[in-house]
C-alpha cells in the first residue's frame, strides 16, 4: 500500500477504516477536498472537519461497505456471517482432516463432558430441588437438643398432638424407615427372588402431601391406618421392575415382608422414593404402637397463606406445651432452671424439607476459583486445538486468499472459520454431554460405588435444561477460542503476499510469539502433570493387579442385619444387637451343617473394602512411654477365629484366642505394613487412639481423652486386597496399615465369611435357609468374596482407566500441537529451504535452521514444567510426607523420565515434517 502521501493523520485513519480496495481512492478524494477547500478554513474548522472523517468513514463502511450479491437484489441488507455452505464445509473439513477431528474432538469432548458433569453435581449439592409440586412449601419438623446441639427424636404422641393443634402446617405426616426382607410370591425353595429393601412406614397423609398420584392401583388411605386393617404395601416403580420382574398382575398379590404377609395395592411412578430413598411404603398404624415410641420423621406442607416464620412461631409454642406434657408423663426433663429463669432443653423447629445450603463467602470464592481454574483448563485445551486448526488453516491459505480476492470480507472469512470450529465443538459437546450423562447415571446406579444406590430421590441423575445450556455456553466459548486466533492470523495479512506465497508452494502464515508462548505453556503443563498422573495411574493399576494372599474365590461374603419389626418388645439398640447375635449364631450353626461348608467367621471388613482411617499414636512396651509420632490405620473388628478361617498366616506372635475377648491389655494383631512402622520387633508395642474427630466418630476415643492402649500380640501377613496408602511412591507400603481387634458378635457393619468350595452355588441356598431360620434376618449382597473384592476396586479401576486416558490424551494433544507447529514451519519456509539446498547447504544445516525454534520451545517448556513440578513436589511431599531425601529419590526418576519422553514425543512429531522438508527440490521451491 502507498504511504499516506502527506495526508493529515485523521484522513489516513479514515482511509484505514474503509475496505482495502477503497482506501487509496477515498484518501485521494479526502486529500483533494482538504487541499481545495478545507485548508482555507480557520484552524478549528479544519481540525473538526478532519477528525470527523474517521467517524464518517466508519459509519459509511458499516452502512454501505458490504457489497450486494448481485444486481437486482430487492432490498439491500446486512447478511449474516454464516451460511449453510459454511456448515457443509465444516463437516467436510472434519472428514478431510481426520486426525485433527479425532484428537481435537476427543479433547473437547473430555473437557466439555467434565464441565457438564461438574456443573450438574455442584448444582445438585448446592441447590437441590425436590422436583415435587410446590416442593419448596414442604417442611420438616424436628426437635433440637439445646445442650448437645443435636436432633432429638420425636415421639408418636407428640406427632398426634401436633396434627391436631397446628394450623400453619397442614397434611402433617410421619415416617419410619427400616430395611426388610421382601420375598416374592411362591416358594422360597422354588428359586423365587428375595431382596433386602428399604421400607417407609408412613401415615396415609404422606401421599397427598407430595401431590404425586400412583402409577397403578392406589396409595394408602386412612382406612389402612386403622388397627386390624389388612396389611398392605405400595411398591416403588424400581422395586417392581427390578425385583418383581415388572409383573403386570402384581396388584392384589401377596408378598412376604419380613414376618408379615402384605397385599400389593399400588405402584408409585418412576423416581418416587419420598421421603428419601425408599423402595416401598406400608401404613403407620398409630393405634397399634406405643405412643411413647420414638424414631419417626415428621413432614408437612405450609398451609395456604402461611409462611415459614408463622409456622415456626406456632410450633415453638405448641411444641413446647406438647413436649412438656409428654415429658410430665414419661418423667423426662424438658426445661432447666438457671437462677430465676427456666430455659427449655429442647426446641421444636420447622425447616424447609431441603434447607438451602448456607454458603459462606469463602465457599463462594472457592467455587469461583474452581470455575476459573476449570475455564482455564478448557481454554488450555481449546488453545491446543486452535493450534491444530491454525495448521489446517495454513494449509488452506490459497483458498482463503482466493476467496478474499473474489470479494469475501475479513468478517466473512472469519465467520466461515468460526462455523468450521463450531461444527467440531458442537459435535464434541453433544458427545461430551451424552458421555457425562451416561457416566453419572452409571455411577448413581451403584455399579461403581454401592453407596450411591441409597442416594435420596432428589439427587437426580438426568441432566436438566440448565446443564444443557451450560454445555452450549462452554461449546460457544470453546468455538470462539478455537476459531479466534486462527481467524485473526489467517485474515490479518496481505492478500497479495498470500497469493504470492501460495503460488510458490509455500505459506505466508507464521506461528508468532503468541503461539510460541502457547507451545511452551503446553509442554510445561504436560511435564508438570504427567509425573503426578503417571503415579496416580500406577497406584490405581497396582490395586487392580494385586491379588489376594488367600483364596478369596473360596469364600462367600455377605452383610447381616436384623429387621427391627421382627423384634419382639422394645426396639432399643441393645435389643437389636442381642437379636443380631442370636440370629448369627443360629445361621452359622445352620451353615456349618450345610454340605461343602467348611467354616464361618465374621468381621467388619477386609482391607480396602470397608472402614475409614483412624489416627493412632505409638507407644512402646515400656509403661508410661508415649511417642509423639502419629500414624493412621484402618481398624477392623474380627472374630477370634478370623485368621484361621481366612487362611491368613501369622508371621510373628500369635493369633487371637477366646481369652482375648475383654482382656484388659487390649490385644490386637497388626498387618505387616503397620509392623514396619513399629520397627524390628513390633510385638509388645502399644498404640492408642488420640482424641481426634475421626476417632470420636468411630468410638475409639472421647472428645477430650485418648482411647485405651492396645498391645500388639501378633503380626499377620498383608492380605493383598488393598491399594497403597497415601504415601507417594512408597513401594515399601504396598497395603493399608491395619489393626485387628477381637470381637464377639455382633460388630458393625456385620460381614460374614463362609469358607466353601462353591460359594456361587451356596448363595441361593443361603437365602432359602435364612428365610427358613428366621424371616427377620436380612442378608445383604451375598456374593463370592473375590467378586466382592473386585466390586470394591471398581472405582479404582474406573479411575485407573480414566487417568490412563487423560495421560494419553495429554501426550497426544501436546505431540499433535508440536506436529502442527512443525508442519506449518516447513510449509512457510519451502522456498528458503529450496534455495539453501540449491546453493549447497547440507541436510544438518537445513534441519537445524528449521528445528531450532521447536527445540527451543521444547526445552523452555520442559524447563518451566520441571521447575514447577519440583516446587509442587516440595510442597506436597514435605508437608507431613516423607523427608527431603525421599523427595529427591521420588522426584528425580519420574521427572527425568517425563522430560525425556516429552523431548522424544516432540522430536517424533517433527519427523514427518522434517522428511517433507528434505524432499523439497530447488526447482519446486523456486517456481513462481
Amino acid at each position: 500500500m502507498r504511504a499516506g502521501g502527506g495526508a493529515p493523520l485523521p484522513l489516513r485513519i479514515a482511509a484505514r477504516l474503509l475496505p482495502a480496495d477503497a482506501r487509496e481512492e477515498v484518501l485521494g478524494d479526502l486529500l483533494e477536498k482538504w487541499v481545495g477547500e478545507v485548508r482555507q478554513r480557520p484552524w478549528l474548522g479544519r481540525l473538526l472537519w478532519a477528525w470527523r472523517q474517521p467517524w464518517i468513514a466508519l459509519l459509511a463502511r458499516l452502512r454501505y461497505g458490504h457489497r450486494p450479491v448481485a444486481r437486482g437484489a430487492r432490498f439491500t441488507r446486512v447478511r449474516p456471517g454464516f451460511s449453510l455452505l459454511d456448515w457443509k464445509l465444516g463437516f467436510r473439513m472434519l472428514i478431510k482432516f481426520p486426525v485433527l477431528s479425532l484428537v481435537g474432538g476427543v479433547s473437547l469432548t473430555t473437557v466439555i463432558g467434565l464441565g457438564a458433569g461438574a456443573y450438574h453435581l455442584t448444582k445438585q449439592f448446592l441447590w437441590p430441588s425436590l422436583g415435587l409440586e410446590e416442593g419448596d412449601r414442604i417442611v420438616r419438623l424436628e426437635h433440637f437438643d439445646v445442650a448437645s446441639r443435636t436432633g432429638r427424636e420425636i415421639r408418636l404422641e407428640e406427632f398426634v398432638a401436633w396434627r391436631e393443634k397446628l394450623t400453619q402446617v397442614g397434611e402433617l405426616s410421619a415416617s419410619r424407615t427400616s430395611r426388610r426382607t421382601l420375598v416374592a410370591p411362591g416358594s422360597v425353595d422354588g428359586g423365587v427372588r428375595s431382596a433386602v429393601v428399604t421400607v417407609a412406614t408412613v401415615t396415609a397423609s404422606t401421599f397427598p402431601l407430595t401431590r404425586v398420584r400412583p402409577w397403578r392401583g392406589r396409595v394408602l388411605t386412612e382406612a389402612d391406618e386403622r388397627a386390624g386393617a389388612p396389611d398392605v404395601i405400595v411398591l416403588g416403580h424400581e422395586l417392581w421392575q427390578e425385583q418383581l420382574g415388572g409383573d403386570a398382575n402384581i396388584l392384589g398379590r401377596e408378598l412376604q415382608l419380613g414376618r408379615e404377609r402384605v397385599t400389593v395395592i399400588g405402584i408409585m411412578p418412576e423416581g418416587f422414593a419420598f421421603p428419601s430413598s425408599n423402595d416401598a411404603w406400608t401404613p403407620l398404624r398409630l393405634g397399634e404402637l406405643d405412643p411413647f415410641s420414638a424414631g419417626i420423621a415428621v413432614f408437612g406442607r405450609l398451609a395456604p397463606g402461611a409462611s415459614l416464620e408463622s409456622a415456626r412461631a406456632e410450633l415453638s409454642a405448641v411444641g413446647g406445651q406438647t413436649a412438656a406434657e409428654v415429658a410430665r408423663r414419661s418423667g423426662e426433663l424438658t426445661t432447666a432452671s438457671t437462677g430465676d429463669s427456666v430455659q427449655p432443653l429442647v426446641q421444636s423447629r420447622v425447616l424447609r424439607f431441603l434447607e438451602p445450603r448456607d454458603i459462606a463467602f469463602g465457599d463462594l470464592l472457592g467455587i469461583a476459583f474452581g470455575v476459573f481454574l476449570f475455564l482455564l483448563g478448557v481454554a488450555a485445551v481449546c488453545t491446543s486445538v486452535a493450534t491444530l486448526v491454525f495448521a489446517r488453516t495454513a494449509m488452506r491459505e490459497s483458498e482463503i486468499a482466493i476467496r478474499t480476492a473474489l470479494g469475501a470480507s475479513r468478517g466473512r472469512i472469519a465467520g466461515q472459520l468460526f462455523v468450521e470450529a463450531l461444527v467440531l465443538v458442537l459435535i464434541a459437546a453433544g458427545v461430551g454431554l451424552g458421555v457425562a450423562q451416561w457416566a453419572i447415571k452409571y455411577w448413581m446406579s451403584g455399579a461403581i460405588d454401592p453407596s450411591t444406590e441409597t442416594l435420596p430421590f432428589w439427587r437426580r441423575d438426568s441432566f436438566d435444561l440448565g446443564t444443557v445450556l451450560v454445555t452450549v455456553g462452554l461449546a460457544a466459548f470453546g468455538a470462539t477460542v478455537v476459531a479466534l486466533l486462527p481467524a485473526v492470523k489467517a485474515t490479518g495479512g496481505s492478500m497479495s503476499e498470500s497469493l504470492k506465497s501460495t503460488s510458490a508452494g509455500g505459506s505466508s502464515l507464521r506461528f508468532g510469539g503468541v503461539w510460541s508462548v502457547i507451545i511452551v505453556f503446553q509442554v510445561a503443563m504436560t511435564v508438570l502433570c504427567l509425573p503426578f498422573g503417571v503415579g496416580f495411574v500406577r497406584d490405581n493399576w497396582r490395586a487392580q493387579l494385586a491379588g489376594a494372599s488367600f483364596p478369596a474365590e473360596r469364600y462367600l461374603a455377605f452383610g447381616l442385619a436384623v429387621d427391627p419389626s421382627s423384634v419382639v418388645g422394645p426396639q432399643t439398640p441393645r435389643a437389636l444387637s442381642l437379636e443380631l447375635a442370636e440370629r448369627y449364631e443360629a445361621l452359622s450353626r445352620g451353615l456349618e451343617g450345610e454340605p461343602g461348608v467348611e467354616a464361618v467367621t465374621f468381621g467388619t471388613g477386609l482391607p480396602g473394602m470397608v472402614g475409614s482411617y483412624a489416627d493412632f499414636e505409638l507407644g512402646s512396651s515400656a509403661p508410661n512411654s508415649v511417642q509423639t509420632v502419629r500414624t493412621w490405620a484402618r481398624p477392623v473388628s474380627v472374630d477370634v477365629r478370623y485368621f484361621d478361617v481366612m487362611g491368613l498366616a501369622i508371621v510373628a506372635g500369635r493369633a487371637f484366642t477366646p481369652a482375648d475377648l475383654g482382656a484388659t491389655n487390649g490385644p490386637i494383631v497388626i498387618n505387616e505394613s503397620f509392623a514396619k512402622e513399629l520397627g524390628e520387633n513390633p510385638l509388645g508395642a502399644r498404640v492408642r487412639a488420640p482424641p481426634t474427630n475421626a476417632n470420636v466418630r468411630r468410638g475409639l476415643s472421647t472428645e477430650n481423652e485418648p482411647g485405651p492402649w492396645f498391645e500388639v500380640v501378633g503380626v499377620v501377613r498383608d492380605m493383598g486386597t488393598a491399594a497403597t496408602g497415601p504415601d507417594l511412591g512408597g513401594a515399601a507400603n504396598v497395603e493399608d496399615r491395619m489393626t485387628f481387634h477381637p470381637a464377639a458378635p455382633p460388630v458393625s457393619p456385620f460381614r460374614v465369611y463362609v469358607k466353601t468350595a462353591e460359594p456361587a452355588e451356596l448363595a441361593p441356598r443361603l437365602r432359602a435357609m435364612a428365610a427358613r431360620v428366621d424371616p427377620g434376618i436380612l442378608l445383604i449382597d451375598p456374593m463370592p468374596l473375590d467378586v466382592a473384592i473386585d466390586q470394591s476396586h471398581r472405582l479404582e479401576l474406573i479411575t485407573a482407566l480414566a487417568g490412563s486416558g487423560g495421560v494419553f490424551l495429554c501426550v497426544l494433544l501436546c505431540s499433535a500441537s508440536l506436529f502442527a507447529l512443525m508442519a506449518v514451519a516447513v510449509a512457510g519456509r519451502t522456498r528458503e529451504m529450496g534455495i539453501r539446498i540449491a546453493i549447497g547447504a547440507g541436510r544438518p544445516t537445513v534441519l537445524s535452521a528449521l528445528f531450532g525454534r521447536v527445540l527451543l520451545q521444547l526445552g523452555a517448556g520442559t524447563l518451566v514444567g520441571s521447575v514447577l513440578f519440583v516446587g509442587m513436589a516440595v510442597i506436597v511431599l514435605t508437608d507431613g510426607g516423607p523427608g527431603i531425601g525421599q523427595l529427591t529419590e521420588y522426584v528425580s526418576g519420574p521427572l527425568l523420565m517425563v522430560a525425556l519422553v516429552m523431548m522424544l514425543v516432540g522430536l517424533s512429531a517433527c519427523v514427518v515434517p522434517a522428511r517433507r522438508a528434505l524432499r523439497i527440490t530447488p526447482v519446486e521451491a523456486l517456481r513462481d
Binding site: 499516506g4 479514515a14 477503497a22 477515498v26 485521494g28 478524494d29 479526502l30 450486494p68 444486481r71
Partner: protein, 110 residues
C-alpha cells in the same frame, strides 16, 4: 426481482451525478449535495455509496491518471447507467408527485 427504489442518499447521489453531466468523482458529488441540502456530506460517504451502486450495476467507473493534488493518487470517475436507473427514478418521482398532489395550496398559505 427488479429493485423498486433507491435509498434516500443513493437517490440524492444519483441525482447529483446526473446534474453533473452523468459522470463525476466523489468530491464534486459530495460538495453539490452539501450545497443543495445544507448538510455536509463527506467525500468518503459519497464514494462508498457510489462504489456500492457500481457493484449493483447502476454505475460504471474508470480510473484516471495520478493527480498531484491527490498526493499522486488517481481519481475514480463514476458514470450513470441510465438504462438501469431511469425506470426506478421515474417510479420514484411518480410516487412522490402522487403523494404531494393537492397539497400545493396548503404550502402556499402564509
Amino acid at each position: 426481482m427488479a429493485r423498486e427504489r433507491f435509498g434516500e442518499l443513493e437517490e440524492r447521489v444519483i441525482l447529483s451525478l446526473l446534474q453533473l453531466g452523468g459522470e463525476s468523482h466523489a468530491v464534486p458529488v459530495a460538495e453539490r449535495l452539501t450545497r443543495v441540502t445544507g448538510r455536509e456530506v463527506s467525500p468518503a460517504t459519497a464514494f462508498m455509496v457510489m462504489r456500492r451502486l457500481e457493484a449493483q450495476g447502476f454505475l460504471t467507473s474508470s480510473v484516471g491518471e495520478p493527480d498531484p493534488v491527490r498526493g499522486g493518487r488517481p481519481r475514480r470517475t463514476y458514470r450513470v447507467v441510465k438504462k438501469a436507473i431511469l425506470p426506478i427514478l421515474r417510479e420514484s418521482r411518480r410516487e412522490m408527485l402522487a403523494l404531494w398532489e393537492g397539497l400545493q395550496p396548503m404550502l402556499d398559505k402564509p
